[in-house]
Symmetry: C2
Subunit: 356 residues, 2 copies
DNA sequence: TTTACGAACGTGAACGTTCACGAAACTACT
DNA sequence: AGTAGTTTCGTGAACGTTCACGTTCGTAAA
């Protein structure tokens, strides 16, 4: 038996319904519901009881209209299926909740949507956006008007704030380590998702999607790694795959068939590296003896793989913290949009486990 | 250079500011912004341009107040760090977005918060909630009043709708398979997080947290498995660990030290099973020859482990779809809250890969 | 010229809440 | 009893938008 007497789902009860039922005024109901002073305790209880019975829920619209917006923040995520993003999102949600913010999430990985689609979907409902937008940041900031936008990875000029990663430094750590290990034939497996290029899908370089030596890497981190590997003077292979473990596994399998001497693979991210680990095992090779594998991201999953994945790790909770604090500064006015203080660069740490 | 002339961040522009700037009325601005008919095309463009320059964003509160609530749905998640939940959330977000809904997410896994805390945090901002609440469902439904609540796993009577899983059937599949494999000494590793008990933390049974044979399993699926294993007549071990791979690894390590003959382990979920896989390898045993491992959930991660994890798999996208469609039915009135149509039971499928 | 009519645009009202006041009732002290 | 102070409660206004009308203007048919 439900506590409500009946099921007349017509109109939701308003504050006036409660006031009438209790024989008091709007304001008294407000005081009762919001724990405000200036009301007799017995009255408060009576009103609250009545409100419960009537199924009264204060309209968030009316409340927001008069009180101004409590902060509700959009979170644009390319793909919740890649453990990197939930790890990041978890940190953001935790810190946002601590501040009393609300997170409205959009995973734009399905249905051919872009980061811009996500922001446009989010825009009418939020006061700010944090997100991995894959190159649409300028247009996204335009869609948000004055409301702050925190872009992660590959910040263009237009966004209010953002966080970058130093891929040159990260790549250097990995490449130097692989050379210390005396690896002579290194490969880099890049991602070929168009969103990393920051251009609409149709304009991406088809060569970069080819399984082997597809011209130029299409991602920022790929470009950084390519520069480093070019600098070593030794030959190296470039390949690209979709940003999934399965696609990476297939691409690495092809690589190991065609370039038998490959003895070290640096991978775009940890999820893809997990696939590469599988491919090396499939080929009957040992990791790291026959072929070392280094991932990028630092997701917890890496420790569960066999062999445990060596990786260029980001402190994911720190990334989330930085994003939230940057946004906080922007919202309170402590940080000027577009200023130096609104940009931040985080660095990777080379974590050597078993795979390299 | 920003398109806006200056930086007077005082008050955000309203529809009246735009109307004044354009020399027209509120209503004309409304028509221009919302693609309504009855306005000259040249006027529409002029108003839109002006709105952009003034940084005008329609107040979602005022709009919501007059138009009524478009559906914004809360999603309460125990722990985004467990790949199961992002996989589920990804499906929910995708389908919700297709319907024009918005998802407000709360990960209550940190800071000692409960599923009820999450719902209470969400309640003032959403029209419905979907979530894994771990036993607080009745109180959560009370906090939501008339608004629909879809509870996953362990539905009590109070919630408007919910999805259950048939653990008896699932456990049967696993136990029968282990017995077919001639496993003589089976262990079940349960989770000991209090939220699975549906009781506040302080009231959980301390015995169940002990590493070995800690009395009675504290989760619903643990109870179902215990019943099945008791039915086999053969001895079996019960242990419990926190719901992380690391804790599961430690618990399984202890088990393998103290019960050397253990040759089959059924695990609460896939994440914990990943830890168990590690523990078995740590102990110098082979999977599945020396000790078989079966997980539960069916997360994609399982395929990346070595050996690949056999598991009682749910179709996670299907779980999300069911939740969204149930909520849809509740919101449109097609489904009566609490009716038979509002409850749903999904079944696991035994996927045999390499670990059993 | 009148009439009719549609296109383009404007105005009062309403949505449900809180804020800033003011009014009333009750208490305590002279 | 009179007065001051405090507690409890009520009322007009405002928040920014859309809805349901009205009004104005121009054009074409009568």
């Amino acid at each position: 038996m439900s506590p409500t007497t009946s099921g007349r789902p017509a109109k939701p009860a308003t504050i006036l319904d409660v006031a009438a039922a209790a024989g008091v005024s709007r304001q008294t109901v407000t005081r009762a519901m919001n724990g405000m002073p200036g009301i007799r305790e017995s009255t408060r209880e009576r009103v609250q009881e009545l409100a419960r019975e009537l199924g009264y829920t204060p309209s968030r619209f009316a409340k927001g209209l008069v009180q101004g917006s409590r902060t509700s923040v959009g979170l644009a995520i390319p793909d919740l299926t890649n453990p990197y993003f939930p790890a990041f999102a978890s940190s953001v949600v935790e810190l946002a909740t601590q501040r009393g913010w609300h997170i409205v999430v959009d995973d734009y990985g399905h249905g051919g949507r872009s980061g811009l689609d996500a922001v446009e979907h989010l825009a009418p409902h939020v006061d700010a956006v944090i997100g991995y937008l894959g190159g649409y940041a300028d247009q996204a900031q335009a869609a948000l008007g004055r409301r702050p936008l925190i872009v992660l990875d590959e910040i263009p000029g237009g966004a209010a704030g953002g966080i970058n990663f130093d891929y040159a430094r990260a790549g250097k750590l990995a490449v130097e380590h692989l050379r210390t290990m005396r690896r002579r034939s290194i490969a880099y497996l890049d991602a070929c998702e168009s969103r990393h290029l920051g251009l609409p899908p149709e304009s991406r370089d088809p060569l970069a999607s080819s399984p082997l030596d597809g011209g130029v890497p299409c991602t920022v981190r790929g470009k950084a790694v390519a520069r480093l590997l070019d600098g070593t003077g030794t030959p190296w292979s470039l390949l690209a795959a979709e940003e999934t473990a399965g696609a990476a596994r297939a691409a690495a399998a092809a690589l190991l068939r065609e370039r038998r001497d490959t003895d070290g693979i640096l991978v775009f991210n940890d999820l893809m590296a997990a696939g590469v680990l599988k491919a090396v095992a499939d080929a009957g090779l040992r990791v790291p003896e026959d072929c070392a594998v280094v991932g990028m991201d630092g997701i917890p999953l890496g420790e569960l793989l066999t062999p445990e994945l060596s990786t260029l790790a980001l402190d994911l909770r720190e990334v989330g913290r930085a994003a939230v604090e940057l946004l906080d500064g922007l919202l309170t006015g402590a940080i000027e949009p577009g200023s130096d203080a609104s940009r931040l660069t985080l660095v990777h740490q080379l974590i050597l486990r078993k795979s390299a």
